[in-house]
Amino acid sequence: MLSFLLRRIVATIPVLVIVALIVFLMTRLAPGDPAAVIVGDTGTSADIARVRTQLGLDQPLPVQFAKWSAQVLRGDLGESLFMKQTVASLIGQRIEPTLSLAGLTLVLTVLVAVPLGVLAAWRHGGWLDRALMGFSVLGFSIPTFVIGYLLIWLVALKGGLLPVQGYVRLDQGLWSWLRNLILPGLTLSIVYVALIARVTRAAVAEALTEDYIRTARSKGISERHVLVRHALINAAVPIVTVIGIGVALLIGGVVVTETVFAIPGLGQLTVDAVLSRDYPLIQGITLFFSVIYVLINLLVDLSYLLLDPRIRY
């Protein structure tokens, strides 16, 4: 396990190098020019050229990459081309909202989806199973903004129960923080509930056909324990995987929800950075995500070891 951890951490380094290089190339290959964006409408080609020089964008690519890498190695992700702020502080500002939203969504999702999936598998073909099927079809095909608008309309505008937008930091009080997250959390959870519940159902239904379930039943233990302790745990590996994928997606980009609910999260930052071609910011975000994803997946992989002792790496 220790050596596994070490190996994983060491393996992260080449990933970062390659990702950094690829993203660097991508940013420069993508059409669009931050200088043109900065100059704005009234500028001329000459203005654009001047800004490019100021930003060092006229230098040869290898030089630009070398400079940037050297900076990163010093632990400095650089400064945004647009904002007079460091990439690190920009990312830092967005972490809390993103983590809050992702965390709440995850809790909502797992609390609903897993039991739902288990029950649907238990009564395979029953009404709950069918309802889940219908729900997941809707969950997959309704665009997020529709769910968001409908929830806002129902809960915030008609019901006047919750705010329609905004994010309040946790240090402003737990309730104000939560109030602002409930609707976006619900909006996001719908598609994940659909996905995770269906995967749970499939995996648990599969486990329920196994002989050890018969053994468990022969012990006279309650059906709940049969489902949870025996079926669910055996089915847990794909479920945890899908949850892990969900976490990665939640942290990486829930732009639509963030926009609809005006949550200043990483998803918006990423899209903004790409759409304004803020090269250092794009590169910084990608590096950051690489590390985060490697960590999430490390956690998921470690959880496999706990969930299924037969798994070895």
Partner: protein
Amino acid sequence: QEGAKVLRMVPQTDLKILDPIWTTAFVTRDHGYMIYDTLFGIDAEGKVQPQMVDKYSASPNAKTWTFTLRKGLAFHDGKPVTSADVIASLTRWGKRDSLGQKMFAALDTIEVSGDNGWRMVFKEPFGMVLEALAKPSGSPAFIMPKRVADTPADKQIDDYTGSGPYIFKKDEFRSGDKVVYLKNTHYVPRSEAPSGLAGGKRVYVDRVEWIILKDAQTQVNAIKTGEVDLLSWMPSDHYAALRIDPKLEVVEATTAGSYFLHLNHHIPPFDNPKIARAAIMAINQEALLRAQMVYRDLYKPCTSIYPCGSLLASDKTSYFTGKPQFEEAKKLLKEAGYDGKPVVLMQPSDFNLLNKLPPVMAQLLKQAGFNVDMQSMDWPTLLMRRARKDPADQGGWNLFITGWGASDNMNPMYFAPLTGNGEKGWFGWATDPKLEQLKSEFVATTDPAVRKRLAEAIQIDAYDNGLFAPLGEQKPLSVLRRGVVSGIVKAPVNVFWNIKKN
């Protein structure tokens, strides 16, 4: 903060760049008006009025100008505003702003003179000094402390001390989320009533929060529930719903803006003015505006290149009527020998404010006999691509549409695309010596009548050479909570002083 009055409002877009000479983005300009003051301001009539300046005078030949600052002006840090600050600020601004560059090119000396005053001496008559110092948009000539203004023009400032009516709260600034301003309690407003960008800038709230809401529906929802008090740019799709909401009020807070079709004169086919005119003849202002703005109340066809109803607006538009003239266009094309090669029309699909115009324009051009290749891209790509001079099929372009505020096209010297100096000019790179000549005559005079005549000549010349053409005006509206917010000042740009909140 018990009892403090907080005005929550939604700006047009997210604020990213805080240095007003770094970009001409509207939102940065609006931010500038919050925290900085200007020497002159344009009033509701379009006339230039002193703002920070107390007295000024010009020699009759318009070569020597002297100015004195008002008493009692102070920066947010408490230090008084001096003419040294002004000279430093103007110098930095003069390096970037197009009109500022022109002014400094003509300038001989600028120096401190008298008690808190300064003098500018020009090499040749320069009639546009006040207009330059009062330039409302692009990069206005904001006054900063000398220490800040001494920052090289190619570096962004990171000290946001100004002398304007509001103080920028740096520690609460989060791009993409919130911008916070506090009332500048030491600000000394002029005694006149507010009028446009001139007059007394009085502040009746303690704190202004710009809430960044990107989603139009969310903006509407937020103002409906009172989570924000003011939408400075009404999302036009929601006009019908907002107008009938008894709790809300839709007001005209800024002068109209215009959409323009820009043509590339550097490469075929629009290097041929006849073909350029044919394209302009395809314009159907009504159809285009209707598609983009949906509601009749929100747009107005206008054939002048200056804002309709402004000082310089003119109905002498040569052949241009704003209505389609497909037959004439086809005839022109035949005459000019258009070879049927596709013309590339760029569409910025992510730019909500104008992304519905290009599809309509494409269909109109087809009707007029053009072979159109409409290409979609995101806005930064368009911005990059419009700077390329290559042939259209090698990464270049022929046409694109963009929008201008009244503050841009109210004066030919403010209006960036109005260039005839070929490759040195604005995108489209028209070569039109006559236009350049007319513009230099315009700069040299201070006589309103002469200016009016020259402006008209410029307009006719622009149409005849097919430089660009207006697609009509759109009314930018603001939405506020009825009975809660009042006192909006109508100005060429969005300004947020004088607003009261109950």
